[in-house]
Subunit: 385 residues, 2 copies
Amino acid sequence: MLNFTFHNPTRIHFGEGQIKAIGAEIPANSRILVTYGGGSIKKNEVYDQVKSALENHTWFEFSGIEPNPIYDTLIKALDLIKAHDIDYLLAVGGGSVVDGTKFIAAAALFEGEDPWDIVTKQAPISSALPIGAVLTLPATGSETNTGAVVTRNGNKLPFSNPLVRPQFAVLDPSVTLTLSDRQISNGVVDAFVHTMEQYLTFPVNAKVQDRMAEGLLLTLIEEGPKALNADTKKDLEVRANIMWSATLALNGLIGAGVPQDWATHMIGHELTGGYGIDHARTLSIVLPGVMKIRRNEKREKLLQYASRVWEINDGDEQSRIDAAIQKTEQFFHTMDVPTRLSHVGIERSEIEGIIEKLTAHGMVKLGEKRDITPDVSHQILTAAL
Amino acid sequence: MLNFTFHNPTRIHFGEGQIKAIGAEIPANSRILVTYGGGSIKKNEVYDQVKSALENHTWFEFSGIEPNPIYDTLIKALDLIKAHDIDYLLAVGGGSVVDGTKFIAAAALFEGEDPWDIVTKQAPISSALPIGAVLTLPATGSETNTGAVVTRNGNKLPFSNPLVRPQFAVLDPSVTLTLSDRQISNGVVDAFVHTMEQYLTFPVNAKVQDRMAEGLLLTLIEEGPKALNADTKKDLEVRANIMWSATLALNGLIGAGVPQDWATHMIGHELTGGYGIDHARTLSIVLPGVMKIRRNEKREKLLQYASRVWEINDGDEQSRIDAAIQKTEQFFHTMDVPTRLSHVGIERSEIEGIIEKLTAHGMVKLGEKRDITPDVSHQILTAAL
């Protein structure tokens, strides 16, 4: 096990009916900006529940935060924050709304000249508005962590700062019952790949972290398809297990003390930034390529994954690894997401351009050993054709 | 899954050499009281590391906190706190030192007449001195949770309050290399039973919590005996896996959203309070009795435990449950702890007196369904003869 520091102070209220907890979580004299996306929260009654919980608070609203939140949209919130003297942000939505709200929280109190520097130059942040989150789509884990991803002019870039970690998060699985199949698929696949990126590296004898990661993978493999199946998709227990898995997949715990490989996410960001492909669908395309091209570097963990997650114990090592990759792809197919660039219409001739953008964004030493160079990323995308 | 609120803001610094982190964790202008036990920290250099890390801080010390910390000892710290205007407590030791320090933290700012009311009457606490912890014995999980147990006149009683949760905890597995076999055994068994008490109840389809609990049990079963074996006992990775397991066994995570059954602990406390038996050794005696007497109420989880933890899948249900109980007892024997009252010299005629004390302490409705009455506790102890 590697040395680590773990700290996750977000207070979590989990379960049906927990949205009412926000009333007590946000100080009574706060001036709140409720941030959300395209308005689905008005259809599924989440908006009404928030309104009711905040009936004794002063609050305003800012809507229109899109999937893969865009800088130009987010920056508009700053005027509202100034005009209404806002001192608390409440993000109501999925990971994109939470991510966008994190950027707004940092930008509102940013002391530099251009808030975009927070993302491109990792400009220092000395303070940020406090954030609470009401999660409506289990996927990114953003509701309890310090990271966010913002897009500008086709450049999708991450930043991270403890100051933007939500102070509390409400996870009510019943509000996820109105999600579309596509949203559920994307969420399950995102959480699955987050887990893999903290697990599928090289062994450091971190027994607890490995078993927790495997527990999340097994749960997502069991419950994900049930959330798409007509007979079981309304089962609240299925939704609860998915929701709690997605949060724990990226709250820092399974990644504490182990190597990590975020190459799949970084390469995937270029497919979203450049082609507008759903985030999770970039991951389901790139991850199998990473598994294939890095099969030697990840040999021991691939074999452990094969055995413990898929019960693949027979045959020689290479065939067990092949079978594990195949099972992973089958799981993605069951979740109805693409696993090849060709599934989303991207051709061999376009790989070079994708790698150029990846390089321009500084993503030239990816992977748990920083040895996934642009050449290796090229091989990964070629394996994903 | 049941509704829950989860919150654990303790910052954890894990790994060899992390004691130096306390210098930055404790505010520079603090007036610190370092609390510890019988002086083993002076033999294993932990004291020197703490001294070095605090070289720019003002600090005093209070030693002599014993296993199962005693009220009369702890209360003596209050004079020191007043005399030196102490505003921060640093617990350096095992769970008993951390527990005792939690009581001191609450008692120092207690506004009622008698601090013992904190334990016996759950008297309200409005503030407490901040605490940091340097853990030297992995076992109780006290280093990141809100609970503590204090003993007075043979009465061993728990209290819990978020105000006494340590702000940070240093977990350096290398400092556990000097522990005695008995201390290691006790720690592993304590963590194992904590996990069981949040796992072995009735199923609520909490897939992640179950798998995390099983991961901790499997890790303790694999690593515990290695920490006693001459060939492997100095292996830092073994110690690291045990240490992280013990913290996660009682940091609130595996118990969030599931029923819990603390009957083993509550009955065990009477054996420590009345007979001075090591805490963990009371648990290894009582747990098998609980498993036997509650085999019907816990049937489904006993079968899951048999299958997933011990790979017992053949035979009828009763024989699988029997085999799982037997495996648990064998594990305890491997860890060199007793599993019968007779192993510690307690006879059938003494059970009635133990049950009387349990009843006097209000422990009359134990278990996940509050239906372990004094009669059932009597059966449990009889099964443990």
